[in-house]
């Protein structure tokens, strides 16, 4: 299989087929990070496109150190951070959509609903986390990246990343407990 570095060389020479292969190889990874970070399908699609435009525009500045994936994720992290700081994100923050992507015809309706609710709960909880905690949590848990790599992507040192992970988990636990408590109260009413 052609390596990322070989494809990048081809892209620098203007080879569109190489660009297509490289983008298709990493698209889902980038989209998954952005989606979990923003929680909205359409915005995530647009932001993914924005990230990839930045990647292609600056492909010649990539230093061949065999860590293209990390370079790509760093651009995605920075673009998401910029979006989180924007006014448009604050507007949609309180209107996170209820997705309907979990389809399992074998399951009964209650099971589907319950899974949807659980998914929605974790989605809202993740979005409620501060940027720096959400970033490290998604990168570590969903992308299985090393602490060292996350530190380089988020421009923090390794101990800071570890502490952000710990604090992020504690906060996530607290948010989920609060959400459960609200659910119990609603049920009892």
């Amino acid at each position: 299989m052609t390596t990322d570095e070989e494809l990048i060389k081809e892209i620098s020479r203007g080879n569109q087929a190489a660009m297509e292969v490289l983008i298709k190889r990493h698209y889902k990874m980038i989209f998954a990070y952005i989606y979990r970070s923003l929680g909205d399908y359409h915005i995530s699609y647009d932001i993914t496109q924005e990230v990839l435009i930045k990647v292609i525009k600056s492909i010649k500045t990539y230093k061949e150190d065999g860590k293209f994936k990390n370079w790509l994720m760093k651009i995605a992290v920075n673009t998401c951070n910029d979006y989180h700081r924007s006014s448009s994100f604050n507007k949609i923050k309180n209107h996170v959509e209820l997705d309907s992507n979990i389809v399992d015809e074998e399951s009964n309706i209650l099971d589907i609903m319950s899974r949807k609710i659980e998914r929605q709960k974790i989605k809202e909880a993740i979005i409620e986390l501060p940027d720096y905690q959400r970033n490290v949590l998604i990168l570590k848990y969903y992308h299985d990246l090393k602490i060292k790599d996350i530190a380089s992507m988020t421009q923090a040192n390794e101990s800071t990343v570890k502490s952000r992970l710990k604090q992020g988990l504690e906060k996530l636990k607290h948010i989920l407990e609060r959400s459960d408590a609200r659910g119990q109260i609603r049920k009892s009413i």
Binding site: R13, R36, Q49, I56, K57, R115, K140, Y142, L169
Partner: protein
């Protein structure tokens, strides 16, 4: 190492059942990925941002094409002035039997220094802002004019050197070439540097006046003229090299300066 430790590489004091619950929750956060058509449409958008093949070569060809187009924008006075200089240069060199090399040294940089007026006439007439709003950037216009005036000056000087070589058997072609190239590159480089720093058409007149005064004093003094004409070839080559570096540096500077103005404009536009 259990799942939790493996996933988070953090202290075990956080390890409890509730954290395991969080991990289970996290597992339920699945992603709805775009379909193939949507990914393909992103790829189509990306195609317009692809780096060009041989981008530098393409840019250079474009500048050369632009330089050819600029011929019509250069004033007739400049072409006439250069032709007169050429005739005077040939006539005086042929008359200077003792030292035919001296006059070509004096005349060599003049076509380029005069041409600087044409290169920067847009800027000096306050037209840069209008040029910046055009499809072709101000820096591209300046660089293409430098190329045009540079090529024309080299052709004029080469033609003069060839003519002198043909009609005067005592002239060594290599020597006359080195002798006109040294002042040509060095004075052109210095003049470009000065004009980039100081705005105004009068600067060219000042530069030409300084050059003529210096040449007059140098060539009316036998000792100085002997030293200048009998320098080691390596010294002449050194002067040519410095001159070329100076010109290249000014071209790069010009490209950066005007491009930065353009980019700043884009940033403002993007921010609004």
């Amino acid at each position: 190492m259990d799942r939790y430790e493996k996933a988070f590489e953090i202290q075990s004091d956080m390890k409890d059942e509730s954290v395991e619950d969080i991990l289970n929750y996290l597992n339920q956060y699945t992603v709805e990925f775009p379909v193939e058509e949507e990914i393909d449409s992103t790829i189509d958008v990306l195609k317009q941002y692809m780096p060009n093949k041989n981008e530098r070569m393409a840019k250079f060809c474009l500048l050369v094409r632009m330089a050819a187009d600029e011929i019509t924008f250069i004033s007739k006075t400049y072409w006439i002035a250069c032709t007169i200089l050429f005739i005077i240069g040939y006539w005086t060199t042929m008359r200077e039997i003792d030292n035919p090399y001296a006059t070509i040294i004096v005349f060599a940089p003049l076509p380029f220094v005069l041409g600087i007026l044409e290169i920067f006439k847009g800027r000096d007439n306050g037209m840069s802002e209008i040029e910046l709003s055009c499809k072709i950037s101000s820096s591209e216009i300046i660089i293409s004019r430098i190329i045009l005036i540079g090529i024309y000056s080299v052709l004029m000087n080469t033609a003069l050197a060839c003519l002198l070589y043909i009609f005067d058997n005592s002239i060594d072609f290599m020597r006359i070439s080195v002798l006109w190239l040294s002042p040509f590159t060095f004075i052109s480089g210095i003049s470009l540097w000065v004009v980039m720093k100081i705005k105004g058409a009068y600067v060219v007149n000042v530069l030409i006046s300084i050059w003529c005064i210096l040449a007059y004093f140098a060539f009316t003094n036998d000792t100085v003229i002997k030293i200048l004409l009998k320098l080691n070839n390596a010294v002449y080559l050194g002067i040519i090299f410095i001159g070329i570096i100076l010109i290249a540096f000014q071209i790069k500077n010009s490209a950066n300066r005007y491009n930065n103005i353009f980019e700043r404009g884009n940033e403002i536009e993007a921010g609004t």
